[in-house]
Protein backbone atom coordinates (compact mmCIF):
# COMPACT_ATOMS: atom_id res chain seq x y z
CA UNK A 1 0.00 0.00 0.00
CA UNK A 2 1.49 3.30 -1.01
CA UNK A 3 1.30 6.01 1.56
CA UNK A 4 0.01 9.43 0.52
CA UNK A 5 2.94 11.78 0.24
CA UNK A 6 2.91 14.72 2.59
CA UNK A 7 5.28 17.54 3.13
CA UNK A 8 7.60 16.81 6.05
CA UNK A 9 6.27 19.95 7.71
CA UNK A 10 2.76 18.55 7.83
CA UNK A 11 3.72 15.20 9.31
CA UNK A 12 1.90 14.52 12.50
CA UNK A 13 5.04 14.31 14.57
CA UNK A 14 6.20 17.70 13.44
CA UNK A 15 2.98 19.36 14.53
CA UNK A 16 3.30 17.60 17.87
CA UNK A 17 6.81 19.01 18.21
CA UNK A 18 5.60 22.55 17.59
CA UNK A 19 2.89 22.11 20.23
CA UNK A 20 5.30 20.64 22.77
CA UNK A 21 7.83 23.40 22.11
CA UNK A 22 5.06 25.95 22.68
CA UNK A 23 4.11 24.26 25.94
CA UNK A 24 7.74 24.22 27.07
CA UNK A 25 8.16 27.92 26.26
CA UNK A 26 4.98 28.66 28.21
CA UNK A 27 6.31 26.72 31.22
CA UNK A 28 9.64 28.56 30.98
CA UNK A 29 7.87 31.96 30.91
CA UNK A 30 5.65 31.02 33.84
CA UNK A 31 8.66 29.85 35.88
CA UNK A 32 10.51 33.07 35.02
CA UNK A 33 7.70 35.32 36.18
CA UNK A 34 6.39 33.47 39.19
CA UNK A 35 9.56 32.04 40.73
CA UNK A 36 12.27 34.59 39.96
CA UNK A 37 14.33 33.64 42.99
CA UNK A 38 14.76 30.07 41.75
CA UNK A 39 16.21 30.84 38.33
CA UNK A 40 19.69 29.46 39.02
CA UNK A 41 18.08 26.29 40.34
CA UNK A 42 16.04 25.95 37.14
CA UNK A 43 19.22 26.44 35.13
CA UNK A 44 20.80 23.58 37.05
CA UNK A 45 17.75 21.41 36.37
CA UNK A 46 18.07 22.11 32.65
CA UNK A 47 21.77 21.21 32.67
CA UNK A 48 20.92 17.88 34.31
CA UNK A 49 18.01 17.43 31.89
CA UNK A 50 20.50 17.53 29.04
CA UNK A 51 22.51 14.80 30.78
CA UNK A 52 19.39 12.67 31.26
CA UNK A 53 18.39 13.20 27.61
CA UNK A 54 21.87 12.01 26.66
CA UNK A 55 21.47 8.86 28.74
CA UNK A 56 18.07 8.28 27.19
CA UNK A 57 19.70 8.28 23.75
CA UNK A 58 22.07 5.43 24.61
CA UNK A 59 20.08 3.49 27.21
CA UNK A 60 16.48 4.11 26.21
CA UNK A 61 16.84 4.19 22.44
CA UNK A 62 19.95 2.10 21.73
CA UNK A 63 19.87 -0.31 24.68
CA UNK A 64 23.39 0.28 26.03
CA UNK A 65 23.29 0.07 29.82
CA UNK A 66 25.45 2.74 31.45
CA UNK A 67 26.05 4.05 34.93
CA UNK A 68 28.96 6.22 33.86
CA UNK A 69 27.46 9.01 31.82
CA UNK A 70 28.66 11.67 34.23
CA UNK A 71 32.08 11.15 32.60
CA UNK A 72 30.72 12.86 29.48
CA UNK A 73 28.93 15.59 31.42
CA UNK A 74 32.07 16.23 33.46
CA UNK A 75 34.24 16.25 30.33
CA UNK A 76 32.07 19.01 28.88
CA UNK A 77 32.08 20.96 32.13
CA UNK A 78 35.83 20.71 32.66
CA UNK A 79 36.66 21.44 29.00
CA UNK A 80 34.54 24.59 29.03
CA UNK A 81 35.86 25.56 32.47
CA UNK A 82 39.53 25.00 31.60
CA UNK A 83 39.13 26.89 28.32
CA UNK A 84 37.78 29.87 30.26
CA UNK A 85 39.99 29.74 33.35
CA UNK A 86 43.31 28.74 31.79
CA UNK A 87 43.13 29.94 28.19
CA UNK A 88 40.94 33.01 28.60
CA UNK A 89 38.26 31.85 26.17
CA UNK A 90 35.37 33.71 27.75
CA UNK A 91 32.81 33.81 25.00
CA UNK A 92 29.91 31.70 26.36
CA UNK A 93 28.92 30.31 22.96
CA UNK A 94 32.50 29.25 22.30
CA UNK A 95 32.66 27.64 25.76
CA UNK A 96 29.49 25.68 25.03
CA UNK A 97 30.90 24.52 21.70
CA UNK A 98 34.10 23.37 23.40
CA UNK A 99 31.99 21.46 25.89
CA UNK A 100 30.02 19.80 23.08
CA UNK A 101 33.19 18.74 21.28
CA UNK A 102 34.83 17.48 24.48
CA UNK A 103 31.71 15.50 25.38
CA UNK A 104 31.56 13.96 21.92
CA UNK A 105 35.24 12.98 22.04
CA UNK A 106 34.85 11.53 25.51
CA UNK A 107 31.74 9.69 24.32
CA UNK A 108 33.66 8.26 21.39
CA UNK A 109 36.53 7.06 23.58
CA UNK A 110 34.38 5.65 26.37
CA UNK A 111 32.08 3.88 23.91
CA UNK A 112 35.07 1.96 22.61
CA UNK A 113 35.59 0.68 26.16
CA UNK A 114 31.97 0.24 27.23
CA UNK A 115 30.86 -1.60 24.09
CA UNK A 116 33.36 -4.35 24.91
CA UNK A 117 30.99 -5.66 27.56
CA UNK A 118 27.40 -6.85 27.72
CA UNK A 119 24.89 -6.58 30.53
CA UNK A 120 26.69 -6.56 33.83
CA UNK A 121 30.22 -6.14 32.49
CA UNK A 122 28.97 -3.20 30.46
CA UNK A 123 27.65 -1.53 33.59
CA UNK A 124 30.92 -2.18 35.42
CA UNK A 125 33.01 -0.84 32.54
CA UNK A 126 30.93 2.33 32.43
CA UNK A 127 31.36 2.77 36.19
CA UNK A 128 35.11 2.19 35.88
CA UNK A 129 35.31 4.84 33.14
CA UNK A 130 33.66 7.51 35.27
CA UNK A 131 35.74 6.60 38.33
CA UNK A 132 38.92 6.74 36.27
CA UNK A 133 37.97 10.15 34.89
CA UNK A 134 37.20 11.37 38.39
CA UNK A 135 40.53 10.13 39.78
CA UNK A 136 42.34 11.77 36.87
CA UNK A 137 40.55 15.08 37.45
CA UNK A 138 41.33 14.85 41.15
CA UNK A 139 45.04 14.21 40.61
CA UNK A 140 45.79 16.68 37.84
CA UNK A 141 44.80 19.49 40.12
CA UNK A 142 47.03 21.98 38.29
CA UNK A 143 44.47 21.93 35.48
CA UNK A 144 41.27 21.03 37.27
CA UNK A 145 41.65 22.49 40.74
CA UNK A 146 41.36 18.98 42.21
CA UNK A 147 38.93 18.59 45.06
CA UNK A 148 38.70 22.37 45.53
CA UNK A 149 36.97 22.65 42.20
CA UNK A 150 37.85 24.78 39.21
CA UNK A 151 37.13 28.44 39.73
CA UNK A 152 38.05 31.65 37.94
CA UNK A 153 35.52 31.12 35.16
CA UNK A 154 34.02 34.46 34.13
CA UNK A 155 32.00 34.24 30.93
CA UNK A 156 31.79 37.40 28.85
CA UNK A 157 28.36 38.87 28.09
CA UNK A 158 26.29 36.70 25.76
CA UNK A 159 26.65 38.01 22.16
CA UNK A 160 28.38 40.97 23.74
CA UNK A 161 25.01 42.23 24.94
CA UNK A 162 23.58 40.29 27.86
CA UNK A 163 25.67 40.08 31.01
CA UNK A 164 25.48 37.03 33.27
CA UNK A 165 23.78 38.81 36.17
CA UNK A 166 23.48 37.92 39.81
CA UNK A 167 19.93 36.58 39.46
CA UNK A 168 20.89 34.19 36.69
CA UNK A 169 18.38 35.63 34.21
CA UNK A 170 20.76 35.44 31.26
CA UNK A 171 21.90 31.92 32.02
CA UNK A 172 18.27 30.89 32.54
CA UNK A 173 17.20 32.03 29.10
CA UNK A 174 20.36 30.63 27.57
CA UNK A 175 19.56 27.28 29.19
CA UNK A 176 15.93 27.36 28.03
CA UNK A 177 16.92 28.11 24.43
CA UNK A 178 19.58 25.36 24.49
CA UNK A 179 17.07 22.86 25.85
CA UNK A 180 14.45 23.75 23.23
CA UNK A 181 16.92 23.52 20.36
CA UNK A 182 18.39 20.26 21.65
CA UNK A 183 14.95 18.77 22.18
CA UNK A 184 13.84 19.70 18.67
CA UNK A 185 17.01 18.31 17.08
CA UNK A 186 16.85 15.09 19.11
CA UNK A 187 13.22 14.54 18.14
CA UNK A 188 14.28 14.70 14.49
CA UNK A 189 17.25 12.42 15.22
CA UNK A 190 15.14 9.83 16.98
CA UNK A 191 12.68 9.71 14.09
CA UNK A 192 15.37 9.60 11.41
CA UNK A 193 16.40 6.30 9.77
CA UNK A 194 19.47 6.40 12.01
CA UNK A 195 17.27 6.71 15.11
CA UNK A 196 15.09 3.85 13.93
CA UNK A 197 18.18 1.73 13.37
CA UNK A 198 19.27 2.42 16.95
CA UNK A 199 15.88 1.30 18.25
CA UNK A 200 16.08 -1.82 16.16
CA UNK A 201 19.49 -2.56 17.67
CA UNK A 202 18.02 -2.22 21.14
CA UNK A 203 15.33 -4.75 20.31
CA UNK A 204 17.45 -7.33 18.51
CA UNK A 205 21.09 -6.64 17.66
CA UNK A 206 21.61 -10.10 16.20
CA UNK A 207 18.85 -9.69 13.62
CA UNK A 208 20.02 -6.19 12.71
CA UNK A 209 23.51 -7.55 12.11
CA UNK A 210 22.09 -10.38 10.03
CA UNK A 211 20.29 -7.81 7.87
CA UNK A 212 23.64 -6.25 7.13
CA UNK A 213 23.40 -3.03 9.14
CA UNK A 214 26.48 -1.96 11.09
CA UNK A 215 25.60 -2.51 14.75
CA UNK A 216 28.87 -1.53 16.40
CA UNK A 217 29.44 1.58 14.31
CA UNK A 218 25.89 2.78 14.91
CA UNK A 219 26.27 2.33 18.65
CA UNK A 220 29.57 4.24 18.63
CA UNK A 221 27.99 7.08 16.63
CA UNK A 222 25.01 7.30 18.96
CA UNK A 223 27.33 7.31 21.96
CA UNK A 224 29.29 10.20 20.47
CA UNK A 225 26.08 12.15 19.78
CA UNK A 226 24.93 11.43 23.31
CA UNK A 227 28.34 12.64 24.52
CA UNK A 228 27.81 15.92 22.68
CA UNK A 229 24.46 16.43 24.42
CA UNK A 230 25.86 15.53 27.84
CA UNK A 231 28.89 17.75 27.20
CA UNK A 232 26.55 20.61 26.36
CA UNK A 233 24.84 20.09 29.71
CA UNK A 234 28.18 20.13 31.51
CA UNK A 235 29.37 23.24 29.68
CA UNK A 236 26.08 24.95 30.47
CA UNK A 237 26.55 24.26 34.16
CA UNK A 238 30.12 25.63 33.94
CA UNK A 239 28.90 28.82 32.25
CA UNK A 240 25.96 29.28 34.61
CA UNK A 241 27.56 28.46 37.96
CA UNK A 242 31.10 29.65 37.10
CA UNK A 243 32.65 26.73 39.00
CA UNK A 244 33.25 23.08 38.10
CA UNK A 245 33.51 20.58 40.94
CA UNK A 246 34.46 16.92 41.15
CA UNK A 247 30.82 16.07 41.85
CA UNK A 248 30.08 16.70 38.16
CA UNK A 249 32.24 13.65 37.43
CA UNK A 250 30.93 11.12 39.89
CA UNK A 251 29.26 7.73 39.94
CA UNK A 252 26.59 9.22 42.20
CA UNK A 253 25.59 11.78 39.56
CA UNK A 254 25.45 9.04 36.91
CA UNK A 255 23.29 6.83 39.09
CA UNK A 256 20.96 9.69 40.01
CA UNK A 257 20.59 10.65 36.37
CA UNK A 258 19.65 7.08 35.44
CA UNK A 259 17.16 7.11 38.31
CA UNK A 260 15.61 10.31 36.89
CA UNK A 261 15.38 8.71 33.46
CA UNK A 262 13.60 5.62 34.78
CA UNK A 263 11.32 7.76 36.93
CA UNK A 264 10.24 9.71 33.86
CA UNK A 265 10.19 6.81 31.42
CA UNK A 266 12.83 5.53 29.01
CA UNK A 267 12.87 5.73 25.21
CA UNK A 268 10.85 8.91 25.42
CA UNK A 269 12.42 12.35 25.37
CA UNK A 270 9.57 13.81 27.43
CA UNK A 271 10.16 11.14 30.05
CA UNK A 272 13.78 12.19 30.43
CA UNK A 273 12.80 15.83 30.96
CA UNK A 274 9.82 15.19 33.22
CA UNK A 275 11.80 12.68 35.29
CA UNK A 276 14.69 15.05 35.93
CA UNK A 277 12.37 17.97 36.65
CA UNK A 278 10.27 16.01 39.14
CA UNK A 279 13.24 14.32 40.82
CA UNK A 280 15.28 17.48 41.27
CA UNK A 281 12.34 19.53 42.45
CA UNK A 282 11.53 16.79 44.96
CA UNK A 283 15.16 16.62 46.10
CA UNK A 284 15.32 20.40 46.44
CA UNK A 285 12.23 20.57 48.64
CA UNK A 286 12.95 17.49 50.72
CA UNK A 287 16.68 18.08 51.25
CA UNK A 288 15.96 21.33 53.06
CA UNK A 289 13.86 19.37 55.55
CA UNK A 290 16.28 16.52 56.25
CA UNK A 291 18.90 15.11 53.87
CA UNK A 292 18.66 11.57 55.22
CA UNK A 293 14.89 11.28 55.30
CA UNK A 294 14.94 12.53 51.76
CA UNK A 295 17.28 9.68 50.82
CA UNK A 296 14.95 7.13 52.41
CA UNK A 297 11.95 8.55 50.61
CA UNK A 298 13.72 8.70 47.25
CA UNK A 299 14.82 5.09 47.73
CA UNK A 300 11.27 4.01 48.50
CA UNK A 301 9.97 6.02 45.54
CA UNK A 302 12.49 4.36 43.24
CA UNK A 303 11.57 0.86 44.42
CA UNK A 304 7.87 1.62 43.97
CA UNK A 305 8.39 3.04 40.47
CA UNK A 306 10.49 0.09 39.32
CA UNK A 307 7.97 -2.32 40.85
CA UNK A 308 4.67 -0.85 39.73
CA UNK A 309 5.45 1.53 36.88
CA UNK A 310 8.37 0.06 34.97
CA UNK A 311 7.71 2.51 32.15
CA UNK A 312 7.97 5.49 34.46
CA UNK A 313 5.67 8.48 34.97
CA UNK A 314 5.06 9.04 31.26
CA UNK A 315 4.32 5.35 30.75
CA UNK A 316 1.86 5.48 33.63
CA UNK A 317 0.20 8.58 32.19
CA UNK A 318 -0.05 6.88 28.80
CA UNK A 319 -1.72 3.81 30.30
CA UNK A 320 -4.18 5.96 32.22
CA UNK A 321 -4.92 8.04 29.11
CA UNK A 322 -5.53 4.96 26.98
CA UNK A 323 -7.84 3.50 29.59
CA UNK A 324 -9.73 6.76 29.82
CA UNK A 325 -10.12 7.03 26.04
CA UNK A 326 -11.09 3.36 25.87
CA UNK A 327 -13.67 3.94 28.58
CA UNK A 328 -15.17 6.91 26.80
CA UNK A 329 -15.44 5.09 23.48
CA UNK A 330 -17.36 2.20 24.92
Amino acid sequence: MSQPRTLPLLKRGFLGDIISLAVMIAIAVICFHFMPSNLSFFTRIIAIMLLVLAIDLVTGFTGIATLGHAALYGAGAYAAGIAAAKFGINDPILMLLIGVVAGAIMGLISSLVILRGHGLSQLVLSIAVVQLAREAANKFSGWTGGSDGLSGISPAPLFGTWRFDLWGRTSYWLAVVLLLVTFFLLRQLVRSPFGKLCQAIRQDPVRVRAMGAPVYLTQVKMYAISGAVAGLGGALSAVATKVVGLDSLSFELSAEAVVMLVLGGTANLFGAMIGSGVFMWFEHTMATINPYHWLTIVGALLVVVVLFAPRGLTGMAETLYNRLIGGLRK
Binding site: A65, L120, S121, I127, V258, Y292, L295, I297, L302, V306
Partner: protein, 287 residues
Protein backbone atom coordinates in the same frame (compact mmCIF):
# COMPACT_ATOMS: atom_id res chain seq x y z
CA UNK B 1 62.80 -7.21 48.96
CA UNK B 2 61.44 -6.11 52.28
CA UNK B 3 59.03 -3.78 50.46
CA UNK B 4 57.89 -6.48 48.05
CA UNK B 5 57.14 -8.88 50.92
CA UNK B 6 55.34 -6.12 52.80
CA UNK B 7 53.25 -5.27 49.77
CA UNK B 8 52.51 -8.96 49.32
CA UNK B 9 51.26 -9.37 52.87
CA UNK B 10 49.10 -6.25 52.80
CA UNK B 11 47.74 -7.06 49.36
CA UNK B 12 46.81 -10.56 50.53
CA UNK B 13 45.03 -9.26 53.63
CA UNK B 14 43.15 -6.57 51.70
CA UNK B 15 42.28 -9.02 48.95
CA UNK B 16 40.88 -11.57 51.39
CA UNK B 17 38.66 -8.98 53.08
CA UNK B 18 37.35 -7.97 49.67
CA UNK B 19 36.80 -11.62 48.93
CA UNK B 20 34.79 -12.29 52.09
CA UNK B 21 32.45 -9.41 51.37
CA UNK B 22 32.11 -9.86 47.60
CA UNK B 23 31.76 -13.62 47.31
CA UNK B 24 28.12 -13.46 48.41
CA UNK B 25 27.47 -10.96 45.65
CA UNK B 26 29.23 -13.26 43.21
CA UNK B 27 26.85 -16.06 44.21
CA UNK B 28 23.77 -13.86 43.71
CA UNK B 29 25.02 -12.56 40.39
CA UNK B 30 26.44 -15.72 38.94
CA UNK B 31 24.10 -18.38 40.22
CA UNK B 32 20.89 -16.41 40.63
CA UNK B 33 21.55 -13.90 37.80
CA UNK B 34 20.66 -11.01 40.06
CA UNK B 35 22.59 -7.73 40.12
CA UNK B 36 22.13 -6.98 43.80
CA UNK B 37 23.66 -3.57 44.40
CA UNK B 38 22.25 -3.57 47.92
CA UNK B 39 24.81 -6.21 48.86
CA UNK B 40 27.08 -3.66 50.54
CA UNK B 41 24.08 -2.35 52.45
CA UNK B 42 23.63 -5.80 54.02
CA UNK B 43 27.32 -5.92 54.91
CA UNK B 44 26.78 -2.56 56.58
CA UNK B 45 23.75 -3.82 58.51
CA UNK B 46 25.84 -6.76 59.71
CA UNK B 47 28.52 -4.36 60.86
CA UNK B 48 25.98 -2.24 62.73
CA UNK B 49 24.48 -5.26 64.48
CA UNK B 50 27.92 -6.48 65.56
CA UNK B 51 28.93 -3.01 66.69
CA UNK B 52 25.76 -2.62 68.73
CA UNK B 53 26.14 -6.09 70.25
CA UNK B 54 29.77 -5.60 71.30
CA UNK B 55 29.58 -1.94 72.36
CA UNK B 56 26.11 -1.47 73.84
CA UNK B 57 25.34 -5.01 75.00
CA UNK B 58 28.91 -6.01 75.82
CA UNK B 59 28.72 -9.29 73.95
CA UNK B 60 31.79 -11.27 72.98
CA UNK B 61 32.99 -10.71 69.41
CA UNK B 62 32.19 -14.27 68.38
CA UNK B 63 28.57 -14.07 69.51
CA UNK B 64 28.21 -10.65 67.91
CA UNK B 65 29.51 -12.06 64.63
CA UNK B 66 26.99 -14.90 64.73
CA UNK B 67 24.19 -12.51 65.70
CA UNK B 68 25.04 -10.21 62.79
CA UNK B 69 25.00 -13.05 60.27
CA UNK B 70 21.78 -14.50 61.70
CA UNK B 71 20.02 -11.12 61.78
CA UNK B 72 20.85 -10.42 58.13
CA UNK B 73 19.80 -13.89 57.03
CA UNK B 74 16.47 -13.51 58.78
CA UNK B 75 16.00 -10.07 57.25
CA UNK B 76 16.76 -11.50 53.82
CA UNK B 77 13.80 -13.91 53.87
CA UNK B 78 10.91 -11.41 53.67
CA UNK B 79 12.88 -9.18 51.32
CA UNK B 80 13.44 -12.08 48.96
CA UNK B 81 9.84 -13.20 49.22
CA UNK B 82 8.19 -9.83 48.60
CA UNK B 83 10.72 -7.76 46.66
CA UNK B 84 13.59 -9.62 45.02
CA UNK B 85 11.49 -12.49 43.70
CA UNK B 86 9.57 -10.09 41.47
CA UNK B 87 12.78 -9.16 39.68
CA UNK B 88 14.16 -12.60 38.84
CA UNK B 89 14.71 -12.59 35.11
CA UNK B 90 14.20 -8.82 34.79
CA UNK B 91 16.75 -6.74 32.90
CA UNK B 92 19.98 -5.86 34.70
CA UNK B 93 19.12 -2.18 34.66
CA UNK B 94 15.83 -2.72 36.49
CA UNK B 95 17.50 -4.94 39.09
CA UNK B 96 20.24 -2.38 39.56
CA UNK B 97 17.73 0.44 40.01
CA UNK B 98 15.56 -1.47 42.45
CA UNK B 99 18.56 -2.37 44.59
CA UNK B 100 19.98 1.16 44.42
CA UNK B 101 16.62 2.33 45.75
CA UNK B 102 16.83 -0.24 48.53
CA UNK B 103 20.37 0.94 49.32
CA UNK B 104 19.21 4.56 49.58
CA UNK B 105 16.48 3.49 52.00
CA UNK B 106 18.89 1.47 54.16
CA UNK B 107 21.40 4.32 54.26
CA UNK B 108 18.72 6.77 55.35
CA UNK B 109 17.38 4.42 58.01
CA UNK B 110 20.88 3.55 59.28
CA UNK B 111 21.70 7.19 59.67
CA UNK B 112 18.45 7.85 61.50
CA UNK B 113 18.88 4.89 63.87
CA UNK B 114 22.63 4.87 64.46
CA UNK B 115 23.75 8.42 63.69
CA UNK B 116 26.24 9.64 61.13
CA UNK B 117 29.41 8.72 63.03
CA UNK B 118 31.81 5.83 62.48
CA UNK B 119 30.97 2.70 64.46
CA UNK B 120 33.65 0.37 65.78
CA UNK B 121 33.38 -3.29 66.66
CA UNK B 122 35.18 -4.30 69.86
CA UNK B 123 37.70 -7.03 69.05
CA UNK B 124 38.61 -9.75 71.57
CA UNK B 125 42.15 -9.44 73.01
CA UNK B 126 43.39 -12.32 70.86
CA UNK B 127 42.71 -10.33 67.68
CA UNK B 128 43.99 -6.98 68.88
CA UNK B 129 47.74 -7.32 69.07
CA UNK B 130 50.28 -7.60 66.28
CA UNK B 131 51.62 -10.99 65.21
CA UNK B 132 55.27 -11.38 64.24
CA UNK B 133 55.60 -13.27 60.95
CA UNK B 134 59.39 -13.18 60.69
CA UNK B 135 60.27 -10.05 58.78
CA UNK B 136 57.56 -7.75 60.07
CA UNK B 137 54.50 -7.77 62.29
CA UNK B 138 50.96 -7.94 61.00
CA UNK B 139 47.82 -7.00 62.94
CA UNK B 140 46.11 -10.19 64.12
CA UNK B 141 42.72 -9.13 62.75
CA UNK B 142 44.14 -9.08 59.23
CA UNK B 143 45.32 -12.68 59.63
CA UNK B 144 41.89 -13.53 61.02
CA UNK B 145 40.22 -11.95 57.97
CA UNK B 146 42.47 -13.89 55.60
CA UNK B 147 41.74 -17.18 57.38
CA UNK B 148 38.00 -16.50 57.33
CA UNK B 149 38.27 -15.75 53.62
CA UNK B 150 39.98 -19.05 52.90
CA UNK B 151 37.45 -20.96 55.02
CA UNK B 152 34.57 -19.29 53.19
CA UNK B 153 36.10 -20.16 49.82
CA UNK B 154 36.52 -23.82 50.76
CA UNK B 155 33.10 -24.04 52.43
CA UNK B 156 31.26 -22.49 49.50
CA UNK B 157 33.05 -24.70 47.01
CA UNK B 158 32.06 -27.76 49.03
CA UNK B 159 28.47 -26.52 49.33
CA UNK B 160 28.05 -25.87 45.62
CA UNK B 161 30.04 -28.76 44.17
CA UNK B 162 29.72 -31.52 46.76
CA UNK B 163 26.32 -31.35 48.44
CA UNK B 164 22.83 -32.27 47.26
CA UNK B 165 21.76 -28.69 47.85
CA UNK B 166 24.49 -27.55 45.45
CA UNK B 167 23.21 -29.97 42.82
CA UNK B 168 19.69 -28.61 43.22
CA UNK B 169 20.92 -25.01 43.03
CA UNK B 170 22.90 -25.64 39.87
CA UNK B 171 19.97 -27.44 38.32
CA UNK B 172 17.61 -24.58 39.21
CA UNK B 173 20.02 -22.08 37.67
CA UNK B 174 20.61 -23.95 34.45
CA UNK B 175 17.00 -24.82 33.67
CA UNK B 176 14.40 -23.73 36.20
CA UNK B 177 11.30 -25.26 34.55
CA UNK B 178 13.04 -28.62 34.10
CA UNK B 179 14.32 -28.60 37.67
CA UNK B 180 10.80 -27.78 38.82
CA UNK B 181 9.44 -30.68 36.82
CA UNK B 182 11.93 -33.00 38.51
CA UNK B 183 10.54 -32.04 41.88
CA UNK B 184 13.07 -29.42 42.95
CA UNK B 185 11.31 -26.56 44.65
CA UNK B 186 13.26 -23.83 42.91
CA UNK B 187 11.66 -20.98 44.84
CA UNK B 188 12.89 -22.41 48.12
CA UNK B 189 16.32 -23.17 46.67
CA UNK B 190 16.59 -19.56 45.50
CA UNK B 191 15.38 -18.20 48.83
CA UNK B 192 17.96 -20.25 50.74
CA UNK B 193 20.79 -19.27 48.37
CA UNK B 194 19.84 -15.62 48.64
CA UNK B 195 19.78 -15.87 52.40
CA UNK B 196 23.22 -17.51 52.44
CA UNK B 197 24.58 -14.80 50.16
CA UNK B 198 23.27 -12.09 52.48
CA UNK B 199 24.72 -13.95 55.47
CA UNK B 200 28.10 -13.92 53.72
CA UNK B 201 27.72 -10.17 53.17
CA UNK B 202 27.14 -9.67 56.89
CA UNK B 203 30.10 -11.88 57.75
CA UNK B 204 32.30 -9.84 55.44
CA UNK B 205 31.02 -6.59 56.86
CA UNK B 206 31.94 -7.62 60.39
CA UNK B 207 35.27 -9.28 59.56
CA UNK B 208 36.33 -6.45 57.28
CA UNK B 209 35.19 -3.63 59.56
CA UNK B 210 38.78 -2.77 60.53
CA UNK B 211 39.68 -2.11 56.90
CA UNK B 212 36.36 -0.79 55.62
CA UNK B 213 34.89 1.04 58.63
CA UNK B 214 31.16 0.99 59.26
CA UNK B 215 29.35 4.30 58.61
CA UNK B 216 26.07 5.20 56.88
CA UNK B 217 27.65 5.89 53.49
CA UNK B 218 29.45 2.49 53.58
CA UNK B 219 26.93 0.88 51.24
CA UNK B 220 27.37 3.53 48.57
CA UNK B 221 31.14 4.03 48.92
CA UNK B 222 32.08 0.40 48.52
CA UNK B 223 29.25 -0.71 46.23
CA UNK B 224 31.39 -0.03 43.19
CA UNK B 225 34.33 -2.00 44.58
CA UNK B 226 32.26 -5.12 45.24
CA UNK B 227 30.64 -4.92 41.83
CA UNK B 228 34.04 -4.55 40.20
CA UNK B 229 35.45 -7.57 42.04
CA UNK B 230 32.59 -9.76 40.87
CA UNK B 231 32.75 -8.76 37.24
CA UNK B 232 36.55 -9.00 37.09
CA UNK B 233 36.46 -12.47 38.56
CA UNK B 234 33.49 -13.71 36.62
CA UNK B 235 30.11 -13.91 38.36
CA UNK B 236 29.47 -17.14 40.23
CA UNK B 237 33.04 -18.39 40.11
CA UNK B 238 34.69 -18.82 43.50
CA UNK B 239 38.16 -19.23 42.04
CA UNK B 240 37.62 -16.25 39.79
CA UNK B 241 36.51 -14.07 42.67
CA UNK B 242 39.56 -15.16 44.67
CA UNK B 243 41.87 -14.37 41.76
CA UNK B 244 40.17 -11.02 41.15
CA UNK B 245 40.47 -10.02 44.82
CA UNK B 246 44.15 -10.90 44.94
CA UNK B 247 44.95 -9.14 41.65
CA UNK B 248 42.97 -6.01 42.50
CA UNK B 249 44.29 -6.05 46.06
CA UNK B 250 47.84 -6.21 44.70
CA UNK B 251 47.24 -3.41 42.19
CA UNK B 252 45.71 -1.16 44.81
CA UNK B 253 48.29 -1.90 47.53
CA UNK B 254 51.25 -1.57 45.16
CA UNK B 255 49.81 1.68 43.86
CA UNK B 256 49.35 3.03 47.38
CA UNK B 257 52.91 2.04 48.36
CA UNK B 258 54.72 3.40 45.33
CA UNK B 259 52.48 6.25 44.16
CA UNK B 260 50.04 7.01 46.98
CA UNK B 261 48.29 9.67 44.93
CA UNK B 262 47.37 7.32 42.13
CA UNK B 263 46.26 4.15 43.96
CA UNK B 264 42.65 4.35 42.80
CA UNK B 265 43.63 5.45 39.34
CA UNK B 266 45.59 2.25 38.72
CA UNK B 267 42.83 0.23 40.34
CA UNK B 268 40.24 1.36 37.79
CA UNK B 269 42.73 1.18 34.93
CA UNK B 270 43.34 -2.47 35.82
CA UNK B 271 39.59 -3.07 35.97
CA UNK B 272 39.04 -1.62 32.51
CA UNK B 273 41.97 -3.57 31.08
CA UNK B 274 40.81 -6.90 32.54
CA UNK B 275 37.11 -6.56 31.77
CA UNK B 276 37.83 -5.28 28.26
CA UNK B 277 39.91 -8.39 27.56
CA UNK B 278 37.65 -10.83 29.46
CA UNK B 279 34.08 -9.48 29.17
CA UNK B 280 32.80 -12.44 31.20
CA UNK B 281 35.44 -12.08 33.87
CA UNK B 282 38.59 -14.07 34.48
CA UNK B 283 36.80 -17.36 35.08
CA UNK B 284 33.24 -16.55 34.12
CA UNK B 285 31.22 -18.71 31.82
CA UNK B 286 30.31 -17.26 28.42
CA UNK B 287 26.61 -16.53 28.15
Amino acid sequence: MQTILSIGVDAFAYGMVLFVISIGLSVTMGLMKFANLAHGAFAMIGGYVASYATQALGWHFGFALLAAVAACMVLAVPLERFLYRRFYGASELRQVLMTIGLTFMIIGIANWLMGPTLKTIALPPALQGPVDIGFRSVPAHKIFAAVVGLLVAIGLWLLIERTFFGVKLRAAVDDAPMAEALGIRTKIVYAISFSIAIGLAALGGVVGAQLLPIEPQYALHHMVTFLVVVSVGGAGSIGGALAACLILGTVKTTGSYLMPEFGNFFFYLAVIAIVAVFPNGLMGRAK
